[in-house]
C-alpha cells in the first residue's frame, strides 16, 4: 500500500532521514520504534506531506505522494494524527471533526463518518459542544484520532498516541488500536512505548539516526538483541 524508497528528508540544512526504505501492506499494522531524535516524527511528516523529501520516492497505492500537493495527500487515503495531537483548541469537538472531513470527497459522507467516530468514541459525542482544548489528554487523543478517521482513510499514521497520557489512559489507547484495526484500517504507528506497541502491531522497524537499523515481525523484534538491549531494558 505504502512504499518509501531511498527517502532523504530534513529541515533546512539538517538532514533527519537517510536513504530510507519502508513498506506497509494493506491491512497491516506496522510499528516504528527508536530513540528520541531518530527521525520517527520526520518519517510521519514526510509521508503526509508536512515536509517534502529532498530525494527518493513515496508511493501510496501506486500514486506518487511526492508529486501530490500537501493538501491533496489526505485525498489519497492517508490520515495523519500528529505528535501532540494538534487539535484546534478553541474549536468544539464537532468543529474539529468537521475539519477532518474538509476535503471534497469526505463532505458528502460527513454525517455517516461522524456516526462511525461517535460509535468508536462515545465520549466524544458527550463532549461534542465542548472546546477541544478543555478536554483531558485522553479525550483529546480520541478527538485527534476521530478527526483523522473523518476522512475515511485507508492508512492511518499515528505519531506517539500514548505520549503525555496517564498509564491507565495509555492502556485505553492501545485497546483502541485493536478496534481500529478490526475496522480494516492499515496503521503505521510511531511509539516510544516499545513493549506495548509490539503487542498490537504485526511488524516493526527500528530507526536510529535516520536510518533503518532493524526490522521484522513483532515476535522477531521482541526477541532481537538490539531491541532488547536498547529499548526493553532486559
Amino acid at each position: 500500500m505504502l512504499e518509501l524508497r531511498g527517502v532523504n528528508a530534513g529541515y533546512g540544512t539538517f538532514q533527519a532521514l537517510f536513504d530510507l526504505n519502508l513498506d506497509v501492506k494493506a491491512g497491516e499494522a506496522v510499528g516504528v520504534i527508536g530513540p528520541n531524535g531518530a527521525g520517527k516524527t520526520t518519517l510521519m511528516r514526510v509521508i503526509s506531506g508536512l515536509i517534502r523529501p529532498s530525494r527518493g520516492s513515496i508511493a501510496m497505492e501506486g500514486a506518487d505522494v511526492v508529486a501530490t500537493p500537501a493538501h491533496k495527500i489526505v485525498s489519497l487515503g492517508i490520515a495523519h494524527v500528529p505528535e501532540n495531537r494538534r487539535l484546534f483548541p478553541q474549536l468544539t469537538v464537532d468543529d474539529n471533526l468537521k475539519m477532518g472531513a474538509f476535503m471534497k470527497e469526505a463532505r458528502g459522507h460527513y454525517a455517516e463518518r461522524q456516526e462511525v467516530v461517535f460509535d468508536l468514541f462515545p465520549r466524544l459525542k458527550e463532549r461534542r459542544h465542548q472546546m477541544a482544548g478543555t478536554m483531558s489528554g485522553g479525550e483529546q487523543q480520541m478527538c485527534a484520532i476521530g478527526r483523522a478517521l473523518m476522512s475515511n482513510p485507508k492508512l492511518l499514521l499515528l505519531d506517539e498516541p500514548s505520549a503525555g497520557l496517564a498509564p491507565v489512559v495509555v492502556q485505553q489507547v492501545f485497546e483502541l488500536m485493536k478496534r481500529i484495526r478490526a475496522r480494516g484500517l492499515t496503521v503505521l504507528i510511531v511509539e516510544q512505548n516499545v513493549q506495548q506497541v509490539l503487542r498490537v502491531v504485526d511488524r516493526a522497524y527500528l530507526i536510529e539516526a535516520g536510518t533503518i537499523r532493524a526490522s521484522g515481525t513483532s515476535a522477531e523484534m521482541l526477541a532481537s538483541d538490539t531491541v532488547k538491549e536498547a529499548y526493553l531494558g532486559v
Binding site: S48, G49, L50, P69, A70, H71, K72, I73, V74, S75, A79, H80, P82, R86, F88, P89, Q90, L91, D95, K98, M99, G100, A101, F102, M103, A106, R107, R147, S151
Partner: protein
C-alpha cells in the same frame, strides 16, 4: 429645572440610540479588519481606502450610469471583494513570511496608491449619491433614516458572516487556520485558497460598509481618513483579531462619540473617544477582552 431635565432625557435617549446606530457600521468595519488580522495575521492599513473605492463605485454606478441603488450595492460589494482578493494576491501573499513592519509598510503604500489614484482619476471634489433619505421622528426625537438602514444592513452583514463562519466547512477552516497553520494541509485545506477567500470576505465587508456610508457621507479621495483611524482604534481596543471584542468596542466607541457630542459638538465626541482609547491602553493594553488563544 424639571423642564430642563425632560428635554435632557429626550436628547440623552436620542444620543444613545444614535450611538447604537453608529456602532453598527463601526462594528461592520471592525469585523472586516479583525477577520483579516485574526486569520492572515496582517493588518490592512489601507482598509478604509477600500471603502473609499467602494463609495466611488457606488457614486459612479448610481449617479453616472443611473443604476438603481439596490443593484449597484451588490455590484460594489463584489467589486471590493475582488479588490480584497487582489490585494492579498499581489501584496500580502509575497510578504506572508516577511517581518510585520514590512507588511505594514506595504499596505501603507497601498493606502497612498489608492488615495493618489482616486485623486487623479476622480479629482478632489466631494461627491454624493444625491439620495436624500427622510428623517424619522419619534415624538421629540429625530433619527436619520440612512443611519437606521445602515444599522440594519450592517447587522444583516455581520449575521451572514457569523453563519458562514459557523455553519460551513470553509468558515470552520477560516476559524481553525488561526489556531494551527501548519497542520491545515493534513485536513486537506489549501491555506492559500482560504487566505484568498478570507481576503475576499474582508473586501466584501468593506464594500458593504461603502454602500452604507455613501448614504451618509460625501465621497472624496481622503474620506478613508474619517473612519479608518477609528476602525483601527476599535480593533485594538477590542483586542486585534478578537471578533467579539471588536463588536463590543465598536459600540463603546460609538456611544462615547454620540454622548460626548451631546455636551458640545460632534468633534468633541471624537476627542473623548480618542482620550478614552489612550487611557484604556494603559489599563488594558491587550484590549477589552484579551485575544482568545
Amino acid at each position: 429645572m424639571q423642564a430642563f431635565l425632560d428635554i435632557f432625557d429626550i436628547y440623552l435617549l436620542e444620543a444613545v440610540i444614535n450611538g447604537i446606530l453608529l456602532g453598527g457600521v463601526l462594528a461592520l468595519l471592525a469585523l472586516g479588519l479583525n477577520l483579516i488580522f485574526g486569520v492572515i495575521d496582517v493588518t490592512w492599513i489601507c482598509y478604509a481606502e477600500l471603502v473609499m473605492i467602494g463609495m466611488y463605485a457606488m457614486y459612479f454606478l448610481v449617479q453616472y450610469y443611473g443604476i438603481s441603488y439596490f443593484i449597484a450595492a451588490p455590484l460594489t460589494i463584489l467589486l471590493v471583494a475582488i479588490l480584497g482578493a487582489l490585494l492579498h494576491y499581489l501584496v500580502i501573499a509575497p510578504l506572508l513570511t516577511a517581518p510585520p513592519i514590512n507588511q505594514l509598510l506595504a499596505t501603507g503604500g497601498v493606502l497612498f496608491v489608492l488615495q493618489s489614484f482616486a485623486t487623479v482619476a476622480f479629482g478632489i471634489d466631494f461627491r454624493n449619491l444625491g439620495i436624500r433619505l427622510p428623517v424619522l421622528a419619534f415624538g421629540d426625537m429625530n433619527f436619520s433614516y440612512a443611519r437606521l438602514l445602515s444599522f440594519l444592513a450592517a447587522l444583516v452583514g455581520m449575521v451572514a458572516v457569523y453563519l458562514f463562519m459557523t455553519r460551513t466547512f470553509t468558515g470552520t477552516a477560516i476559524r481553525a487556520i488561526s489556531q494551527d497553520r501548519q497542520i491545515m494541509a493534513l485536513m486537506g485545506v489549501d491555506t492559500k485558497r482560504i487566505y484568498l477567500i478570507t481576503s475576499a470576505i474582508g473586501g466584501g465587508l468593506a464594500g458593504l460598509a461603502a454602500c452604507l456610508l455613501v448614504l451618509q457621507y460625501d465621497v472624496h479621495p481622503f474620506v478613508g481618513l474619517s473612519f479608518g483611524p477609528i476602525t483601527f482604534l476599535i480593533c485594538v481596543l477590542g483586542g486585534l483579531g478578537n471578533f467579539i471584542g471588536g463588536f463590543i468596542a465598536a459600540f463603546v466607541f460609538a456611544e462615547i462619540i454620540s454622548l460626548g457630542g451631546l455636551f458640545s459638538d460632534l468633534e468633541w465626541g471624537y476627542v473623548l473617544a480618542f482620550a478614552f482609547f489612550i487611557v484604556m491602553m494603559f489599563i488594558r493594553p491587550a484590549g477589552l477582552l484579551a485575544r482568545r488563544r
